[in-house]
Each structure stands twice: as C-alpha cells, then as structure tokens.
C-alpha cells in the first residue's frame, strides 16, 4: 500500500471501489489482494448489487459454465456487458477470461464477447494437467503463474496486446481496459498483477 492510499484508507474516503463477480468461484482471494492495495470491494451476487458505481470489475476463477448461467439467471448479464464495453477496467482470470472471450474454440457457448480472442477451455487437460510456473509479463517482469484446468488464448486479433506466453501459448492479454489471464494471480503471494490493475483503475 502506498502512502497516499493508506492515508485515504484512514480517512475512509475516495477509495477506489472494485466490483467482484461473486456468483461462484475464488472471489475472496481477489478481495484480499485488492483490499491490501487500499481498494474497497463489493461482491456482485445479484442485480441490486449493480445499483452503484464501480471503478473496476474483477471476473474471478471458478467454473465458467456456472458463472455464465448465473449471470443470465440473476439478470446481471446486460448491465455488466455494457460497463465492460464502456471501458470499465476489467481483470479476468481463468473462467473470467472465458467469459470475456469472443470465441471459445471447443464450446458452442460464448458470454460477454468483449475481448477479440479465441480461447480454448480446459486447454491443458484435466486436473493432472494443472501446473505452476514463472514467466515474464510485459511491463511488470517475472510473475508466478498457477494454472488450474486452465484455458489459453489460441488466437488474438491484431489490436490485442499479448502480455505473456508460456511455452508458445498466449496466457495473458490486454485489450483497451480489459486484462485477460489464463492463470490465477490471486493464488500467489506476488501482487504485481493486482498493482497493475489498480493503476489502471487510478488512471481511468
């Protein structure tokens, strides 16, 4: 936490507010990261939770089929899609990346379709294919990466910036204010990814 944000935290005012999709999955882990950086977190579980302003949006890991279904059933899909299109800084990890992707190569379904990439679900196979590694992310250096039944980006449109690759496969991208990751920065001690996202919120 830098001095400015800790001061604001003491005053309890003007803190950046991040909405975290909390219908299913590992959302608490993101909350802890963002709170440590000085942001206020709001769990988005139902439509009424959207009646407020957020400075940023996090789409966490979990099961994309469950999250996608609940977004529709709980009538939150259109509102969130609109916010993403209007440029709210969005951090999407694993299932979140699948929700953002324009196409899913091995599934007929698609969700927000705001990120012009094609992702492959469960691209590394079942749980025995899950792995941990470290790799360079453009602009922020070496980052620990935990892949859990993870997707990867098979192809991306030219305007999408590739932030990281692991063994030739794209695992991190940025497109405007959307960051999409195959891995789970919320599970490791390192805060670089969340700091990058925090700065995007500050700049927005």
């Amino acid at each position: 936490m830098n001095r400015r944000s800790s001061f604001l935290w003491l005053k309890g005012v003007n803190r950046l507010k991040v909405g975290i999709l909390a219908v299913q999955g590992a959302f608490i882990e993101h909350e802890h990261k963002m709170q440590a950086l000085g942001a206020t977190c709001v769990e988005i579980r139902k439509k009424e939770d959207l009646n407020q302003h957020f400075d940023g949006l996090i789409l966490p890991g979990g099961e994309s089929t469950v999250q996608g279904k609940l977004l529709n059933d709980l009538d939150m899909f259109a509102d969130l899609k609109k916010r993403i299109q209007q440029g709210i800084p969005t951090l999407a990890t694993c299932a979140g990346l699948i929700l953002l992707a324009e196409h899913i190569s091995n599934d007929d379904k698609a969700y927000f379709q705001t990120l012009p990439v094609t992702v492959k679900r469960n691209a590394y196979g079942r749980q025995l294919g899950s792995f941990y590694t470290e790799e360079e992310v453009k602009g922020i250096g070496q980052v620990p990466m935990t892949f859990i039944r993870a997707p990867y980006v098979e192809s991306a449109e030219d305007e999408v910036e590739v932030l990281a690759k692991v063994e030739e496969k794209i695992v991190a991208v940025r497109y405007g204010t959307q960051i999409g990751l195959s891995f789970h920065p919320e599970l490791d001690e390192n805060n670089k990814i969340h700091e990058m996202f925090y700065q995007m919120m500050e700049a927005a």
């Binding site: 219908v23 299913q24 579980r45 099961e63 749980q127 899950s130 792995f131 789970h184």
Partner: protein, 291 residues
C-alpha cells in the same frame, strides 16, 4: 505428492467454492447437472439413497461408466473409492479423474487405515465429523474436506452437527495460548503444524464443503450460513420430483444464501422433495465409517 502438486489440488477446490457438486449416475444426468449449474459432478453407479436401500457391499463404479460421464461434461468429474482402497484410487487416477472422494458412502475396505493420499498426484476429498478427523485426513494428503453428514437420508441434521462441531473446535483452538497447542495436537492425533495453522488462520488449511442430507435450497442456505464454502448434493436432486428445477434452485441458493426473499422464490413449486428417512429410523450410520 510434491508440495506444489498439493497446492494445485487445494487450489482446484478453491475454484469450486460457492458451487454445488451433484451426484450423477448417467451421462444424461451429468448433462442435466451441468446445464443446471453444477460446478462439478460426482460419478457413481448408485446414489446413496439407493445404496442404502440395496444393502450389500458397495464399491467403486465401473470405469467405463465414469469415462462416459467425463466425455459428457466439461466441468470437473469426481468419483468415489472405498476408504483405504488404494488400488481403486490408483484406477481412478489412471483414468484421470479430477477428484477422488475417499468415501464412507461405499463399504470401507480397511477398518484401520485410510489411503496414503500423498502417494497420488490426483486430489482427494474426504469426509469429516469433527476437526480431528479433518486434520488427520489433510495430514494423509486430502486437499479438500466435506462434512460427512448422513448420506442418502435427506436429513440435514448430521451435516449441521458436523459443521457446528468443526466451527466450535476451530474457535476453541483460535483462542488458545500458543503453549497449549502442543497438547491439543496430541489430543487430536495430528501434527503440531496443522493445529498451529488453524490457530493462526482461524480456518482449515483447505476448502470445506457441506455434504450428506442436503435436499432443499433452504438446506443449502443453512449450511452456507453455518460456514460451508460450497455444497455436495447427492440423492437430493435425482430422487426428487423435478430434478432440473431443484438443481437450479439449489445452485442459486448457494450463491445468494443470505437473501431470504430470493430463497423464498427459489423454494416455490419445486415438486416433491426426496422422501427422506430421519436419523432415528436408520440402522446404518455411514458417518461412523473411518475416523
């Protein structure tokens, strides 16, 4: 199992949080469960209520049947092996199951020892009635815990009892002086480090789900409010009048477990719930298997 593998396995359980894991016996049921919003399915030949009714020895399911379910859905697939039956677990690992449930629902194969789960790469979930059982299973390599409850009854009383017991014991350890932890470890028959973890973090080192007797959206909400991080529903869905509707309702109840108004809507017109048997009426207490 390396520390890294154990972490990855524990982290898969983290991804399942806030979700419902449903028992299914056919690829068709598996697809229904996935469509209804299950975050994983448990593949087994007979659901606990039928195992209870049939009696006899119940074993690991036919791998062919499990593979059929793996092909039918894209969400994680779990399967059960008998307590202590490491050969069944090896078979399940060979077909790349996502999670093995070393389960008291099946007939135990060993009345003393559980499987040494540290020998496996694939993750294990185990049942527990109290903190000691939970930590012993974690020490053996389990990367996820669930309450035992009483499977196949539709009676939530035991799941509630087990969840409350764990919460009470965690609260007790959290408030202990550090010099009291050594003796507590001895009492619980677990390594000091696990007790220290509970003391420092006020929680189990792995994800803890509710299981055994959950039959309605209200049951699911009850368990979530008691601190469960997700819910297993076994017989409750496919033994009910309208499985699709009930499954969808339980999924939403787990997401919005604090919203009584929504829970009221979800509980309407669900058709017949599984009939259920209450705990005084049953002779076989599965929860007493494997301690």
């Amino acid at each position: 199992m390396s520390k890294e593998r154990w972490n990855l396995n524990k982290e898969l359980a983290q991804m399942l949080k806030g979700g419902v894991i449903m028992d299914v016996t056919t690829p068709e049921q598996a697809r229904i469960a996935e469509e209804a919003g299950a975050c994983a399915v448990m593949a087994l030949e007979r659901i606990p209520a039928d195992i209870r009714a049939a009696g006899g020895v119940s074993r690991m399911s036919d791998p062919k049947m499990i593979k059929g379910i793996q092909e039918a859905v894209s969400i994680p697939v779990m399967a059960k092996c008998r307590i202590g039956h490491f050969a069944e677990a090896q078979i399940l690992e060979a077909i790349e199951i996502d999670y093995i449930d070393e389960s008291e629902v099946l007939s135990p194969a060993d009345d003393v020892y559980h499987i040494d789960k540290t020998n496996f790469k694939v993750p294990f979930v185990c049942g527990a009635k109290d903190l000691g059982e939970a930590l012993r299973r974690i020490n053996e390599g389990a990367s996820m815990i669930r309450t035992k409850g009483e499977p196949g009854t539709g009676d939530v009383v035991q799941a509630v009892r087990h969840m409350r017991m764990m919460n009470r014991e965690i609260a007790k350890i959290s408030s202990m002086r550090e010099d009291e932890l050594f003796d507590e470890a001895k009492e619980l028959r677990v390594p000091y480090e696990l007790v220290q973890y509970v003391h420092d973090h006020k929680r189990l080192p792995v994800v803890n789900f509710a299981a055994g007797g959950v039959a309605t959206p209200a049951d699911a909400a009850l368990m979530m409010q008691l601190g469960a991080e997700g819910v297993f529903v076994g017989s409750g869905i496919f033994k009910s009048g309208d499985p699709v509707k009930r499954a969808q309702a339980i999924v939403k109840a787990v997401t919005n477990y604090n919203d009584a108004k929504l829970l009221a809507e979800l509980s309407e017109d669900l058709g017949e719930a599984m009939v259920g048997i209450n705990e005084q009426e049953i002779e076989l207490l599965m929860a007493e298997r494997g301690k």
